[in-house]
């Protein structure tokens, strides 16, 4: 099993969710986060005050997948989240040792 973590632009969340559901991925966790990569931040002035936007609002999406679904999921996220500009985000993949369904203690891929 593989965990897919994607940090994306908030405006792309709906499209990414739809894209994942289309390939059969139903369960996911969404977090509101802040961060930057190369995009960095900028300074905005409003009525004489300086507001530094160094950490930009992003959304982090986490799903745990059966290994055979990973590449499809990556392609779906990339396709839905991409705008071509700096700040589109990143995907991280990591191995998951096990998964357990709390309700009935099912384990492994069956618990996904």
């Amino acid at each position: 099993m593989t965990k897919l973590e994607a940090v994306i632009q908030p405006s792309k969340l709906d499209a990414v969710k739809d894209a994942l559901m289309e390939i059969g991925v139903d369960g996911m966790t969404i977090l509101e986060v802040r961060g930057h990569g190369r995009q960095k931040g900028h300074t905005e002035f409003y009525r004489g005050r300086e507001y530094t936007v160094d950490l930009l609002p992003k959304v982090k999406l986490e799903v745990v997948l059966a290994d055979e679904l990973v590449e499809k999921a990556v392609a779906a996220v990339v396709s839905a989240a991409r705008s071509g500009k700096i700040g589109d985000g990143k995907i991280f993949l990591s191995h998951i040792d096990d998964a357990i369904r709390i309700r009935n203690e099912e384990r492994g891929a069956a618990a996904l």
């Binding site: 405006s11 969340l13 709906d14 905005e44 002035f45 409003y46 009525r47 004489g48 507001y51 705008s83």
Partner: protein, 869 residues
Amino acid sequence: MSASPSLFDLVKLHSAESASIRQAFETTGDGKAAASRRSALVDSIVERLWQEFVATDLQQPSGLALLALGGYGRSLLLPHSDVDLLFLTEAEKPDPKLQDRIRKFNQELWDLRLRVSSSTRPMSECARLNSENVEFTISLLDCRWLAGDQGLFDKLHDQLIPALVKRDGQNVVQLLSEVTKKRHEKFSDTIFHLEPNLKESPGGLRDLNVSNWLSLIAALEKTRTWPSEHNLLPSASREPVESAFEFVLAVRCFLHYHHGRDDNNLSWDSQDEAAAKGIGIPGRTKISAADWMRAYFRHARVIDRLTTQLLDEASPSPSSLYQKFQRWRSRVSNSDFNVENGRILLQPTAAPIDVAFVFRTFEFLAKNGFRLSGDAEQRLSEAIASFDSKSLRTHSLWTHLKHILAAPFAADALRAMHSLGFLVRVFPDYHLIDSLVIRDFYHRYTVDEHTFLTIESLHHLLERPGKEPPSEWESYFSGLLKELEQPELLYVSLLFHDIGKGLPGDSHVASGLPIMERSLRGIGIHQDELETIRFLITEHLAMSATLRRDIFDHETVRAFADKIGTPERLKMLCLMTYADIRSVNPEALTPWKAESLWRLYMAASNYMNRSVDDDRFHAEFEAETLQRIGDLVPKKAVELQKYLEGLPHRYLRTHSPIQIAKHFEMSQALAKKPVQISLKHTRGLYELTLLTGDRPLVFATIAGVLSAWGMNIVKANAFANQAGTIVDTFYFKDRFRTLELNPPELDRFERSIVQVLSGEVSLHKLLEGRGRTATNGPTKLQVATRLDFNNHSSSHSTLLELVAQDRPGLLYKIASTLGRYGCNIEVALIDTEGHVAIDVFYLTWECAKLTGEHQFQIRRALLEELEPE
């Protein structure tokens, strides 16, 4: 263990009767009857077991009595509730043989699958209050004799309990209040939960018990004997409370059968099933789960109100500093109202309560934040029932409503108006959202409560004594709220923003607008104010929708800003969005979301200020606007078109059609009188509008004249059309009240402006002649001057954004400096925020943008000119 033959009988009896009770409940849905029958069933079982296991060879009087407590004591036993028993002994320590019999007795009950909660206590313990276990003392208030020594029970019931209440009644009440308060805190002090606990949640069965206990204690304290009347609740509450009680009991009975145990959680699926079976609904009509929960919240609200009222009335002498403060606040009492312990009492009066008095009551409540006493509620309720809705809808209604909405405790007043039926008398359509539930995992509150919370959340942004300091984001939004020119328009928009949810249809906005229109028509709101309200309700989801897009994308910001149109509307919409999200559920407005909302607001505001110059009126594309204003100045379409051509859209958006028509008429008179002036006093400021031909230093000159007269310019806009007519508006405060205290000076003031503009009088001499103090007085906050030039925002002007310490004469200094360097002010947007002047100028020099060198010179000159004195 082999069961006795009698136990087999009891098993059969219990099983058969329980099944019969269940069947009857499933047919009738009568929870009270089911609980009553079950109590009687357990009575007969207990009596049999008592005879068999306890009383066999007991001497009479035995010094031992068996009592029912809790719900069982009230003869109402739900299917899986505990059977609370008390073995009351005369002796301090019961005979070990007796203890053995009691143990066997309890065991038999357990074998019958009855959940027994049994205790053995001596009389002496029952006669005194144990502050560590007030629940036991409270349970004695419901005690009922089941078996054994009747004399012992009578002594406890008739003598010791009344004596205990006489001695410790107030302590019991205080402890009960504390226990109730802690329980409410566990449920966030609200009746609104998606899956409430029918017993423990505020507005649930436990609160009803608390109300009964408080009433009983009050009666016992008063008469020292048990009251003969069974229903001790205030008479005005009895019918709705009885109805609520029957509902809650029916639902609890249903839940016990549904879960198969004593589980009082109204989970999602149990709501579905209860609704499908019409549990608690008259006629057992099947309804939707949302409508069923609406019924639940209506009943919960009744119980919650009653409990709060009785807890307030029973509260002992103030001990905490806050309670002493509450009592001190009774100094706000006046000829209409008396305030005691935080409750409003109506002064005794022979005159019937009229509409004006009712409004005064709610205005008083909104201003001071107290609760109405039970007596006040009853008197108001009776009066309100006699009012005719039509007679309430006069032109003074808006004045009353404004006072209520703008006051710090507006939400509390609205809740009181709603619960007493006054809000629906004033706005009959408000019944549509009464306790209306939106059934999803996001919306915590009913629609009416959500509405009141939106208004409350805005008032909470403003400082109040005793409140925690605001968070970073709250302080930004708080600043916006303080800048609003007419906050009451925002509040009334919130009051109606979701009213359309009470009607079927895809868009609650579309459904709600006609309701708002008819509700607010004819109550004294001006047409342009109604227009703003209409706009806010129509677009109240626009900002949330934009937040789902890329808020750092220029095109997104541009589209949003163009849709909103003016800075004032942008501020209102931002605050509306803040309040709307915040009031969905306590976690909805995360810091992340608040930050995004603020960023979008800033970006849109900056865009609005930086795009004024390029966004101008062109008649060929604006037929509708021309038509709308043209209707006010018939037969002058051509002249009107010429007047409007080239004016920034900001001008059209910040003035009503009536105002624009008036300016147009003024422009038509320029041939006869080259300087046209309109001066009026509105909302604490003077508004000076001036039209004249464009020429150098006009703006600086007007600013200079105002400065010479000692006026403090708070806001100003300067626009010009393609034909070279300028339309400048200045909003100023008359610092020395010259115009107010000397009405003849008004004419002289206007003449002064005309004379200086025409060159008859020297501005320099006028400024010298006045010699007033040049400061606003001491200020703690020092604002550093900041200038930003921008050659990219506008296609043909240089944008100058200037922030400086506000002081009288500032605008004159800035404008005259710009004039000295040959700048033409194409557009000026002048604003003040406290001690900070925030000015935006669109500048050209010889019809072109300013060069870098020119900007440098102007910067140097302005910094020098604006050096603090």
